[in-house]
């Protein structure tokens, strides 16, 4: 069969998400942000939330998220996305509000906003991209940087006695009563991408059903910040990041437990 016979609209099994704008993303080659943007666009489209989803863009690499996903967006001050999401979701209870943040934005300057939005159980989705580095500003140490990882501000590796231990934000918010669904995913293989999409879909459904705060942490790569090729970054992440940030659901109050 010739290539021309296969490439026909009726044979299409995977197409570019409809809600991704035509703009070429500014992210570095191989950046996990692109994959997560794609998944968010697919989930919003599949749930029919095109007119009802309001995203809160962070400060960091994903600051231009509003240029890429075709829904309504608000740009928050650094780390304040969950606070802004609280306001938007309370003023527009019929809308589905989500924030999209990196670990420097959410876990460092925005830790208070994150924790209190989760404690209040706001009906929002918090998407956290955890790549353990401040990618946009040149690769400084973030709260989630692994011990021993070399960054611009820890050139000899992060030391627990000097810089503290890496913060597991997912585990922290899973202890708060307001969260209904806390999960940690990755997007380094096709199987992981499918799982991450299912997790995002569940989170958006929880927000629509007003079940509480859903927190989706995506362990991601920053090949520029880590100074590796995208392929090697994925390997390094699987070998090192997953040991400290194990993947899987940390909390899910939406499924009923079987009676004992």
């Amino acid at each position: 069969m010739k290539r021309e016979d296969i490439i026909k609209p009726e044979n299409k099994v995977y197409s570019r998400p409809r809600l991704l704008d035509g703009n070429v993303m500014h992210y570095c080659p191989g950046c996990s942000h692109g994959v997560v943007h794609k998944l968010v666009a697919e989930v919003i489209d599949e749930l029919g939330l095109e007119a009802d989803a309001i995203g809160i863009a962070p400060v960091g690499c994903a600051v231009f998220a509003y240029n890429y996903i075709d829904c309504d967006w608000v740009e928050a001050a650094h780390g304040r996305a969950p606070a802004l999401a609280t306001a938007v979701s309370r003023l527009h209870p019929e809308k589905v509000v989500f924030t999209y943040q990196g670990d420097g934005d959410l876990a460092a300057i925005g830790s208070a906003e994150t924790i209190h939005a989760c404690t209040r159980g706001e009906n929002i989705v918090i998407i956290m991209i955890n790549n353990g580095i401040y990618g946009m500003t040149g690769g400084q140490m973030s709260p989630c940087t692994l011990e021993g990882a070399k960054t611009a501000t820890t050139p000899y590796g992060r030391r627990a006695d000097l810089n503290g231990f890496p913060l597991r934000v997912g585990n922290v918010v899973s202890l708060l009563d307001g969260t209904c669904y806390v999960t940690r995913q990755a997007v380094h293989t096709p199987a992981a991408v499918r799982k991450a999409k299912a997790a995002l879909k569940k989170a958006f459904l929880n927000a629509r059903a007003k079940k509480g705060t859903s927190f989706v942490e995506v362990v991601a790569t920053c090949s520029s910040g880590w100074k590796m090729s995208p392929e090697k970054s994925n390997k390094w992440m699987a070998e090192n990041m997953f040991a400290h940030y194990p993947l899987g659901d940390l909390k899910d109050t939406t499924v009923e437990k079987p009676a004992e």
């Binding site: 995977y14 070429v24 993303m25 942000h33 096709p190 995208p230 392929e231």
Partner: protein, 76 residues
Amino acid sequence: MAKIQGAVTIERERCKGCDLCVVACPCGVLALQPKEVNDRGYHFAYPANEEACIGCAACALVCPDACIEVYKVIEK
């Protein structure tokens, strides 16, 4: 046995040559252009061994720039 044949299209100008699709492909279909570059200067991916494609969409799933579209035909 039904034979599955797939094909991929890659938007050349959107590709950043990150190599993730090449690694994800289970059939060794894709490769990066060894010499040619796109307008942005990246060695973009292309289907070098297109007869081997089974249309599994693994490349498209991991592509961060959403530049891959996948087609599949099942011959009976």
